[in-house]
Amino acid sequence: MFKHILKSLTGGPVTEAGPSPSDPALAELAGKLEKAAKARLGRSLSIREVDAGSCNGCELEIHALNNPIYDLERFGIRFVASPRHADVLLVTGPVARNMREALVRSWDATPDPKWVVACGDCAVSGGLFRDGYACVGPVNEVLPVDLHIPGCPPRPADLLAALLALLETSAAR
């Protein structure tokens, strides 16, 4: 194992260069944050992920952000265990009615200023699940959404670009 670690140490990082913050996301946020609280977050964001009825595909790609290739933490963005520690709720899924209360409670528990990101087609529009008795549909029918990341699931690079845009915009205040 030590040989392995030594090789990792001498072999240079496997992490790839980050993408530039995504343009559509920047544009969406620019308008939103005009009105938002102007607290400086010091170039760091804590994210609480909430699965509100996802198929778990979105979770797999969000997980990938933490692998050494995308390495989200180098940008000062990290996932936290409690909404009480979070600046951002990253919500996936078409808001299953059985999860609605838990989602709202997570939002209530998140301190201000806070942002909500709808991740994946389900969270953005309700996807294939918007009709029917079991789902509410898009997240913005339940919470005010600041940023939409489409895709089924969004690729890690797209997630990264969107989150960087959020970081840039929130830190610029």
């Binding site: 392995h4 699965d51 198929c55 778990n56 979770e59 969000i62 059985n98 999860m99 029917g132 789902c135």
Partner: protein
């Protein structure tokens, strides 16, 4: 005590009437007396319950005689909405019966547990899929957990929102100090109403829903759905499509197992392994993306064939991937095996007895780590696996460590399968100009019979066997589809696995199972 009474023999003897156009295995419709004799026979037999699902006026159960591999569906018409429960002879039936009650309003008589399951009083409707959906209960009470009595016990409620990036569900631990005396699960939080949404949809649209039952097994669920539809309408898919499907299924299996091995070690505080395994997983997903245009290969397996073919350089790219995995995976396995502090956490933790996995018919790594060596690719088996060489690893240690080792062995087997497929794939690859047509046959209306046609399939996902049953209506739409994820028969065993372990080992046990919430909640 296997097979003392052949399944088909019994079904004929109790007066089951075969139903026309049900493929590839038969469906027998029995009377109430027949159903009762079936329950009696199940008591003394080892037939596996493969699934149980409802319709507004009928209940269905799929059974398998494990030794011979004989499979049959038995159904009982219940105009009054009641049927005798199977839960006393097959405890695995209980949650399925509760789901059939919540969705279809079918009542299981003399059930071992009548509480609601998927219905959390949040839909604004009761029995949403029955003929007569009901108004929501005016003042829903809280869910009653099973009572626990004893000195010095305390309860720890966890969820539905957990600490990590995982799916939601509620766990109610009763502990005595550090030791878990009982775990009770409450699931259903991510119920999206998939069975209801599939009703009346054209096959192609329903297939997109099937692909989103559980994102980590999107290929396997799509395959199970496609095979069930193809069985119903008696459609043969081109050989190249059959091989491409297996290729995607094995890529999915490798990617998930790599992720799971890393995640299990991470929950034993060995983050190094997660960092390494997640890089290998990423390599697999990127190869899948290059070959099929989607990292998870969602919507690529469709009824009739496949929706994406390998590019010309695909086979070479896959062989390179396999070579990389063969170079990088074994040293990591050696590290896992040699780390005493890691073994200390995984060996002897979270034991599930062989008797219990057999009783619940648990498949996948959970079953195979506890001596239940079934694999749907072999039993009942489907193409092209009869043409490929692979082994099904089985262990009898029944603990977290055994579940890790099953995954390690399966990664090795799947790498070998991907190599075989890449080398022997029949048919022509898609040309750069896209001129070679896709291996896909269109579904014609009225194929396989003029009326309704029913099909059943059993497909091995990375998690275990998926059973999918469909009815295709005369107009080509889906009348009913029931996809049964392997998680249904694994979740209850997690409750058993944690008993007597310390609370802090729960994440480890849970990861070693890695049941799907979405696949279960539907």
């Amino acid at each position: 005590m296997y097979g003392e009474q052949p399944l088909f023999g019994l079904l004929n003897r109790i007066g089951g009437a075969p139903v026309a156009d049900h493929r590839p295995w038969p469906r027998y419709r029995v009377t109430r007396e027949g159903w009762l004799s079936l329950i009696e026979e199940m008591e003394g037999s080892a037939w596996s319950l493969l699934g149980l699902w409802g319709e507004p006026k009928e209940v269905f159960v799929a059974l398998r005689e494990d030794m011979s591999g004989d499979i049959a569906v038995v159904s009982l018409e219940c105009p009054q909405g009641r049927f005798p429960s199977l839960s006393a002879v097959r405890p695995s039936a209980n949650r399925l019966e509760r789901a059939a009650h919540d969705l279809y309003g079918l009542t299981a008589e003399r059930t071992t547990d009548p509480r609601p399951w998927l219905d959390h009083d949040a839909w604004g409707v009761r029995r949403p899929l029955s003929d007569r959906p009901g108004a929501p209960s005016p003042n829903p009470g809280p869910y009653t957990f099973l009572p626990v009595e004893g000195e010095g016990l305390h309860q720890i409620p966890v969820g539905p929102v957990h600490a990590g990036i995982i799916e939601p569900g509620h766990f109610r631990f009763t502990a005595n100090g550090e030791t878990v005396v009982r775990l009770e699960e409450r699931l259903g939080y991510v119920h999206r109403g998939i069975e209801g949404l599939m009703r009346g949809k054209p096959v192609a649209e329903a297939a997109r829903l099937a692909a989103r039952i559980s994102g980590d097994s999107t290929v396997a669920h799509s395959l199970a759905f496609a095979r069930a539809v193809e069985a119903a309408v008696d459609l043969r898919v081109p050989p190249r499509a059959v091989w491409l499907r297996a290729l995607m299924a094995e890529l999915e299996r490798v990617a998930n197992h790599l992720g799971d091995i890393g995640a299990i070690c991470n929950d034993a505080a060995f983050a190094f392994m997660l960092a390494e395994m997640s890089q290998l997983r990423e390599a697999v997903l990127r190869a899948a993306d290059l070959c099929f245009g989607h990292r998870l290969m969602m919507d690529r397996v469709v009824p009739g064939g496949v929706a994406a073919d390998l590019p010309e350089r695909g086979p070479a790219l896959l062989l390179d991937l396999c070579a990389e995995l063969r170079r990088r995976f074994p040293p990591l396995v050696t590290i896992y095996d040699g780390k005493a502090s890691l073994q200390d956490r995984t060996v002897g933790t979270g034991i599930v007895s062989t008797g219990l996995v057999n009783r619940f018919g648990a498949s996948g790594p959970v079953g195979r780590a506890s001596g239940r060596g079934l694999d749907a690719r072999r039993n009942p088996g489907y193409a092209p696996y009869d043409d490929l060489e692979f082994e099904v690893p089985v262990l009898t240690e029944c603990d977290v460590n055994a579940r890790v080792w099953i995954r390690i062995r399966e990664v090795e087997q799947s790498i070998a399968l991907i190599e075989q497929i890449a080398r022997r794939m029949p048919g022509l690859p898609r040309g750069l100009d896209g001129t070679t047509p896709l291996p896909l046959v269109p579904l014609e209306a009225g194929q396989g019979g003029a009326g309704t046609r029913e099909g059943l399939s059993l497909v091995e996902s990375f998690r275990g066997d998926i059973l999918t049953w469909v009815r295709v209506e005369a107009d080509g739409t889906i009348g009913r589809c029931h996809p049964r994820d392997p998680s249904w028969f694994q979740w209850p065993l997690l409750e058993a696995a944690i008993e007597g372990n310390i609370v802090a080992d729960f994440p480890l046990c849970n990861k070693s199972f890695n049941c799907s919430y979405a696949g279960h909640d539907l």
